[in-house]
Amino acid sequence: MRRQDFEAAVATHGRKVYTLALYLLANPEEAEDVTQEVLIRLWRRGHDVLPEKIRPWLVQVTRNACIDVIRRRKGSFQVAIDDGAGAKLHEPAPGPENLVHASQLGRRILRALDALSEPGRSVVILREIQGLSYQEIGEALEMPMSSVRVTLHRGRRRLRAELKEVHDHVAIC
């Protein structure tokens, strides 16, 4: 990959990479590490990727890197959940609701989004927050477009159900 093509790709897609990592990980430091890793990988492997496929490729690589981080995080959390005196050795992620200055509903949505399972969470982020087309999401996640659509609706339905539960709980209390 030529230097100028790489720099153009970083200028165009870097924001998407970092945003996806930040929403998936809800942790700025980890998102920075993943973004750095993905962009360096783009520099090394970019010549294998067709120019029009760079965006889905970046999404796929970023998502995989985030899933790896989450797996490692879960592993370390299980090992170091408690030091016996009740104090947590492993600090949990700051929480997605702290990433943005969102409305109260927005903060609740982010918390609910964080609780979604994959691939629903990625599809909701990519489609609704990042504005990717069904086709781009399908290419990145290697899913047919019909599955992307179904997964998106299921994810949003799950968010709605979570918010309704919170709403009902608040109303009862």
Binding site: I129, R157, R160, H167
Partner: protein, 199 residues
């Protein structure tokens, strides 16, 4: 159980709400959901919540890549020779004194070795240059003339030597004949003719 046509229950409608909002239902299903929602207060509230979720998600911001990440990527993807320059310039920030000393040394060396420091060439007039050229030509011509004459002289000498040698040989041959004739009478040894170089 729903009291509305085509869809059996609110659950059926709620399962289709997101697809309906996105316009992904076929016309018949979309009409059935709309008819249900128009008349069912709880499903209408769910529809409003579903739309609010989408609206809130679409308001979520995207984030610029932090400058430090871009800088690290830049450093790790630059060619090696640019990295060395980068390290040098970085040293200005961390250790300015040695870096400035290095720059000063380079500047001093450049000044010492620069063409501006060399003694200036003398300036000649066109007339002087023309005269120098003419004298040089004359000198070369003189040398050439001498060389030509020397060559001729050498050739002449060689020719002369060749003729002399022939003459000497002839004399010696005569003398030998005479000597052999004399030796036959006086019993004297025969003497060979001397070697002549260049023959």
């Amino acid at each position: 159980m729903s009291q509305f046509a085509d869809l059996e229950s609110c659950a059926d409608v709620l399962e289709r709400l997101e697809a309906w909002i996105d316009g992904d239902l076929d016309d018949a299903e979309a009409a059935a959901v709309k008819a249900h929602v128009d008349q069912c207060e709880s499903c209408r509230a769910e529809q409003q919540l579903a739309e609010a979720v989408v609206a809130e998600l679409r308001l979520m911001p995207e984030f610029d890549v932090p400058e430090k990440v871009l800088q690290t990527v830049q450093n790790k993807t630059r060619p090696a020779h640019e990295k060395k320059l980068g390290v040098f310039f970085e040293s200005f920030k961390s250790r300015p004194a040695p870096a400035l000393a290095a720059v000063a040394a380079v500047v001093v060396m450049a000044l010492v070795l620069s063409p501006w420091r060399r003694p200036s060439e003398p300036q000649y007039t066109d007339q002087e240059v023309a005269r120098a050229v003419a004298e040089t030509r004359l000198a070369f011509a003189y040398v050439g003339n001498i060389a030509q004459r020397a060559e001729k002289r050498v050739k002449a000498r060689v020719v002369d030597q060749g003729a002399a040698a022939q003459a000497v040989r002839g004399v010696w041959r005569s003398l030998r004949v005479i000597g052999e004739a004399g030796a036959e009478t006086a019993d004297l040894p025969a003497t060979p003719p001397p070697e002549v170089k260049g023959s």
